[in-house]
């Protein structure tokens, strides 16, 4: 299927503007696609339609006041952004998080990973033309998770839950029983979903061998997350540079070899299972005690710089903070996963059809809020 062939009948190439208003550009991404008939000759990515200047805005807010802004980066996985930012600030201000806080953070981070992968797989399949059905099934599960997030922090999407030195509030009494109830439900759902689509011939035809990202290209582009793991790069910050209490859990890093769209879909499904495994272990081990270190509302970290990173749902998400001992960061740079993962798009889509372009783009799993910042 991947055999490359010379283009047999060449026609005059024409330029098609895809986006910013297009059903499957995941927001307001714009591609100038040069097409020869259906074949993509070249694409020129254009973005910035959702630029809100978050890095600059952070310079004039207090360290705590920046947390709501990180929600708006990758709005499909707000909890992960909160965590990454707080990990960076704690590194900068040298704050230790209590045990209970760390466990709550792990649970919520894994929950948001599942929620994000539900969205990623669903929207990729939607782009492949499965008219919403797998999307709705996955969103049903995502909705259950979002119910739990709502119980935890009052909002469904923009959580703003993790604070510097812990989490904002303790777990409600009914949270852990509900989560325990959810885990077997999701296991059951994943099995059903694998039955539904794993062997589907049309999906295999549309995704297998399509948009191959070779290992060396992935490394050169700095790709991380499920995208890199699908290309065979066994790298996961939860294992390689354990933050929080991830070193206490047992889990595998699912990888694949081909680096095509189907492998990305597989890796995401496997990661959901692993996340459930971590949640399962964490629920049993949640200790008592304080959930938040005694951190004042307005902190003044010592002058210096720190880079805190986590393995977000989409890959390595890092916050680079420079402090000048004032109440606001002097400079904040966000290593946003989506933006860096997007750099490989051009290498992946060249020579494929316009329909594949959409699937490949969907399989990268980007959020425009994070690309444009």
């Amino acid at each position: 299927m991947t055999t490359t062939q010379e283009i047999s009948l060449q026609t005059e190439p024409f330029v098609l503007n895809m986006g910013p208003l297009h059903p499957s550009t995941h927001g307001v991404y714009r591609m100038r696609v040069t097409l020869d008939g259906e074949v993509v000759l070249d694409i020129e990515p254009m973005f910035g339609y959702l630029h809100r200047g978050i890095e600059k805005l952070m310079e004039e807010r207090t360290y705590t006041g920046c947390i709501p802004l990180t929600d708006r980066l990758d709005y499909a996985s707000a909890m992960g952004n909160n965590l990454a930012y707080c990990v960076a600030v704690e590194k900068l201000a040298k704050i230790r998080v209590p045990e209970r806080g760390e466990y709550i953070r792990v649970i919520t981070a894994e929950m948001i990973r599942i929620a994000n992968h539900c969205l990623a797989v669903g929207s990729m399949l939607n782009d492949a033309g499965a008219l919403g059905t797998p999307f709705f099934y996955l969103w049903n599960e995502r909705e259950k998770l979002y119910d739990l997030f709502e119980m935890l922090c009052g909002q469904r999407v923009l959580h703003n839950y993790i604070r510097i030195g812990g989490v904002s509030q303790d777990l409600p009494d009914e949270f852990l029983p509900a989560l325990e109830k959810f885990v077997p439900q999701l296991h059951k759902f994943i099995n059903e979903f694998e039955f539904f689509l794993k062997q589907n011939e049309i999906l295999i035809a549309r995704a297998q061998g399509v948009g191959v990202l070779p290992k060396d290209v992935a490394l050169n582009c700095g790709i991380s997350g499920p995208l890199a793991r699908a290309s065979g790069i066994k790298r996961d910050l939860r294992k390689d540079d354990p933050y929080s209490v991830y070193d206490r859990f047992e889990f595998d890093i699912p990888t694949a070899e081909n680096g095509d769209c189907y492998d990305r879909y597989r890796v995401r499904m496997e990661e959901m299972k692993q996340s459930l495994h971590i949640i399962d272990q964490a629920i049993k081990k949640v200790p008592g005690g304080p959930f938040r270190a005694k951190v004042p509302q307005i902190i003044r970290p010592p002058a210096g710089e720190a880079y805190g990173h986590i393995e977000g749902p989409k890959g390595e998400l890092g916050f680079y903070l420079v402090s000048d001992n004032s109440i606001a960061p002097y400079r904040c740079h966000i290593r946003s996963t989506s933006f860096i993962n997007l750099t490989a798009l051009r290498q992946m889509v060249k020579g494929w059809k316009i329909a594949d372009l959409i699937v490949i783009f969907g399989s990268i799993d980007i959020t425009m809020g994070e690309v444009d910042r």
Partner: protein, 367 residues
């Protein structure tokens, strides 16, 4: 023999008032039937897909949301009609009309009941095949006239699909025609003591796939391909013209369901219920299968669509035709029930071998 007197032969002898009354009655019946069925089809599709996707579907307008298609139609009629500056105005205007007419023409030869059809042409099937692909012209006009690249891509895909899928579709029909020995739709229904879906399982499968591709139902909905081409050929249509295309889409689906009912599911024949009700029930069942596949399967790519037509369906259709021809030639007099078993075995073997041998074309092109 002029057209009128020719058609008059097809009229039942006891029909009062002669040809023109017959013509008027059935024209009204067909138009009403198509419009009502399209509304029903939209309702079934939206509710059916809704339930398959763990939601309700439209259930607000009227009892059980039955009036939703009416409300949609009203809304779309009242919308502003926008024509792009770069559009070819006449082509843009004419396209929906040209796309819609052939769909109505198909129903002229569909028997709703024994003898109850506008005209029982003795070349009925040929007429259907000839007419059904005319709406492609309308679609291509829409794609070209809009002056939009998405529309053009969608229209080109549709033309390619229709040209390719006509061939396996016609070959699948010929398998049936060999058994009946007639091209007339009435005669085909009469000949189906056993529904041809059993006698011609492979033919049915090929016809169903080809019909889905021809009318652009998912998984072959490449010309609309909402995730790739926004709305394909009708990207630049709004208001009434868009409504026409919407109507065409569902009317074509109903027409194809009606054809499949007539050819493969023994048309209006059935016990207990009145024949026209049987016809409608079978049509709706076939349409529901289309909805079902639409809700489940992802979309194929254009080269895979072509590969499926030429490398899988075409050989399978030829095998089906060959086997049917031999059966009819060598054993013209034995019971068709024997052929049922033989043909199902042939279908299973053909699909098994065909799927193993089937290699889709290249995907990537060196640029």
């Amino acid at each position: 023999m002029n057209a009128v007197s020719y058609a008059a032969q097809a009229v039942p002898a006891d029909w009062p008032g002669g040809y023109w009354w017959h013509w008027l009655f059935y024209t009204v019946v067909i138009i009403v039937f198509v419009l009502v069925m399209v509304m029903g089809a939209i309702y079934i599709e939206r509710r059916g897909m809704g339930r398959m996707q763990l939601r309700y579907g439209p259930n607000r307008t009227g009892p059980f949301g039955l009036l939703q298609p009416v409300a949609d139609a009203l809304k779309v009629l009242l919308k502003e009609n926008i024509v792009p500056n770069v559009a070819d105005k006449i082509v843009h205007w004419l396209a929906p009309v040209i796309a819609f007419t052939p769909v109505l023409l198909i129903f002229a030869v569909i028997p709703f009941q024994n003898g109850a059809l506008l005209t029982d042409l003795n070349i009925g099937i040929l007429f259907i095949v000839a007419v059904s692909s005319i709406s492609t012209v309308g679609v291509f006009m829409a794609g070209w006239g809009s002056g939009n690249k998405y529309s053009l891509l969608g229209a080109m895909r549709n033309v390619a699909a229709v040209v390719s899928y006509e061939i396996p579709m016609v070959l699948a029909i010929i398998g049936v025609v060999i058994f009946t020995g007639s091209l007339s739709t009435g005669a085909i229904v009469d000949a189906q003591d056993i529904p041809f879906i059993l006698v011609q399982p492979l033919g049915f499968l090929i016809f169903f796939i080809a019909a889905s591709a021809e009318i652009n139902r998912s998984p072959f909905d490449l010309m609309e391909a909402d995730s790739e081409l926004t709305a394909g050929f009708h990207t630049e249509y709004s208001g009434m013209k868009f409504a026409m295309f919407y109507l065409v889409e569902y009317a074509e689906a109903i027409a194809m369901s009606a054809i499949i009912t007539t050819i493969f599911l023994s048309g209006w024949r059935g016990p207990w219920l009145p024949p026209w009700l049987w016809f409608i029930i079978k049509t709706i069942i076939v349409f529901f299968v289309m909805v079902w596949t639409r809700a489940t399967l992802p979309r194929v790519r254009i080269d895979q669509l072509m590969a499926l037509a030429w490398k899988f369906l075409f050989p399978a259709a030829v095998i089906n035709l060959f086997v049917s021809a031999i059966e009819v030639l060598v054993w013209p007099d034995i019971s068709q029930w024997i052929f049922v078993g033989v043909n199902i075995a042939v279908a299973v073997i053909a699909i098994g071998v065909g799927t193993k041998m089937f290699k889709p074309g290249w995907g990537k092109v060196a640029v």
